[in-house]
């Protein structure tokens, strides 16, 4: 920085380390708990890793919590299907919509644009019952379609692609036209390859969004075969007067955090790009 003040540098690092600890500690405790037996967790909880790590994870993944009817393995697969379905679905339909809005002139173009914009103002939370009723009428409760389709409209992705397409030089489009190519060829040969970085950034953000969905799956899944991991964890906690199986819950919680955290850490560049660009 500007001047040299050793104590200030010391304080800076001190505060940052405290901040990091505040963020890491709950995860560490969860990890430690997932390596203990239930009895160790409930009676004398030690903050050092225990010896039941492998046992807890295998039992969670293959046997699952008691009385739930689904293994954590199944629930992870469901979460993955939902997350990928939402991510790819949003990217796909937003690419097409943005392409139509930018590269074509047609009646109701602006009307459609505003219609898509309105979705920003209607999160699931404000239309819980009627959306549930639509899903029930379409018979997509307790199904992958039900977990995915109602969530794939995306104003932010459409805007992001629109924004990007506006910066693509017109000459490229003209060149394709002169060569006798049509809109489909332009889209696949030029626009799609050029959108790679935007797609990657969106993929990271949307995967996290999809994996972390909670309210909607909670509303529409009653059949345990379609429980996502987050719903499963909540169900495991609902034991009433009984003893929650903390060792399994903590293992499941770790498994629920690992995929999105790995994506943020290993695709940090795309993550930061996605965050700062989609929020505009």
């Amino acid at each position: 920085m500007v001047e040299h003040r050793p104590w200030l540098t010391f304080l800076t690092h001190g505060i940052l380390i405290l901040g990091v600890l505040l963020l890491v500690i709950p995860i560490y405790v969860t990890f430690v708990a997932s390596s203990h037996s239930l009895q160790e967790i409930t009676s004398n909880f030690s903050l050092l890793p225990g010896r039941h790590l492998i046992e807890n994870y295998t039992s969670a993944l293959s046997v699952g919590p008691r009385d739930l009817g689904a293994t954590v393995g199944t629930m992870m697969v469901n979460s993955l299907i939902m997350a990928l379905g939402i991510t790819l679905g949003k990217i796909f339909i937003s690419l097409l919509a943005a392409y139509a809005i930018v590269y074509f002139k047609f009646r109701f173009r602006m009307f459609f644009f505003w219609l898509i914009f309105i979705t920003l103002m209607l999160p699931v939370e404000v239309r819980i019952l009627p959306t549930y009723k639509v899903a029930a009428d379409l018979k997509i409760l307790d199904s992958y379609s039900g977990l995915i389709f109602p969530l794939i409209a995306s104003a932010t992705a459409t805007f992001l692609f629109r924004q990007f397409f506006m910066t693509v030089p017109d000459e490229l489009c003209e060149a394709v036209k002169i060569d006798g190519g049509g809109p489909i060829r332009f889209f696949f040969d030029i626009l799609l390859p050029m959108s790679r970085t935007s797609i990657a950034a969106l993929f990271v953000i949307l995967f996290i969004y999809g994996w972390n969905q909670y309210l909607w799956p909670l509303l529409i899944t009653t059949d345990e075969r379609y429980y996502t991991l987050l719903i499963g964890i909540k169900r495991m906690l609902d034991v009433g007067e009984g003893q929650a199986e903390w060792h399994i819950i903590m293992a499941a919680t770790m498994l629920a955090m690992i995929p999105p955290i790995l994506i943020v850490i290993f695709m940090q560049k795309q993550f930061v790009k996605g965050m700062t660009e989609t929020e505009k």
Partner: protein
């Protein structure tokens, strides 16, 4: 902004835009209009009869004490979450901005909790503060402080605010750090040469220049606290004890989905819609100005 070069096809654009529009109409516009429609109707529990009652549902909820309570709880909750999450992350971002060695490591270590779902954050802290087995609760007890958020409303409120704010630190940090790094260094250096202390430089130069970011984050944090914290509440307190943490979004879920009170729930949905619409308008107006800033 319009493209100079466009394709001539007449039907193709409709096919391209159709999937997005169909999903929007079926799962967004139609349900939202149904919520508005039902908010002026009264329907019996079996859906056998319905009649138009005008604004009676709204009049009813605004005299309902649990609803007024949930408005109050939501205000306290959102502003506390925004204030705590933003001040902690501004402090961390200001510190990270000073660091030369290890800055990227700190950044990585601070941004990853964004990937933790609010409901999972709820599980983490619920476990730590669990009155019977949570280590924080046990330590508090050792020092003579009785912790039981399932009985004590104040403690429950503290825990959900704390958890929701914890989850939002990464997000704010990312934007504050980007904002800080965009401030031209000569401003700071000039002030330093004039003898201004680091703290004085921060409050008189950095903080005012950061105000667009701060304002943007205030809106985003309030939106988050209103609409994305359902999981935190659901896992830790389920609105209790005695409605102490019954935020509006949790109440609309509870009344509509569990108690099946259609009229009241729709009226609440409509009010929430107004809130999101106003917040979105504020957010987009601000972004217009950011362009010229």
């Amino acid at each position: 902004m319009e493209k100079r070069v466009v394709f001539k096809q007449k039907l193709l654009p409709y096919f391209l835009i159709a999937p997005q529009i169909i999903i929007t109409l079926v799962f967004f516009i139609w349900p939202a209009s149904q919520a508005v429609y039902q908010s002026v109707l009264q329907e019996d529990a079996f859906g056998l009869s319905r009649k138009f009652v005008g604004l009676a549902n709204f009049a009813y909820i605004f005299t309902d004490e649990t609803y007024l309570n949930s408005i109050y709880v939501t205000i306290i909750f959102s502003f506390s979450v925004a204030a705590i999450a933003m001040s902690v992350s501004l402090l961390l971002a200001a510190m990270a901005d000073r660091v030369i060695k290890g800055a990227t490591t700190y950044k990585t270590l601070i941004i990853w909790p964004y990937a933790v779902a609010p409901v999972v954050a709820g599980v983490l802290w619920y476990f730590l503060f669990n009155p019977t087995i949570g280590i924080v609760a046990i330590y508090l007890k050792l020092y003579g402080y009785e912790w039981n958020h399932s009985l004590n409303g104040g403690q429950a409120m503290f825990l959900v605010i704390f958890t929701a704010a914890w989850r939002e630190i990464s997000y704010n940090f990312l934007f504050f750090l980007a904002g800080l790094q965009a401030i031209p260094k000569p401003f700071i250096e000039a002030a330093a040469i004039d003898g201004a202390s680091p703290l004085k430089r921060f409050w008189t130069i950095t903080f005012p220049l950061l105000s667009p970011t701060t304002f943007f984050l205030v809106v985003m944090n309030v939106v988050y606290a209103f609409f994305d914290t359902f999981g935190v509440i659901h896992v830790i307190t389920a609105g209790g004890p005695n409605y102490a943490t019954n935020i509006m979004v949790f109440k609309v879920y509870h009344d509509g989905f569990l108690s099946l009170d259609l009229g009241s729930s729709s009226a609440q949905s409509v009010i929430l819609m107004f809130i999101v619409i106003s917040l979105t308008v504020v957010q987009f107006r601000y972004i217009e100005r950011k362009v010229y800033y």
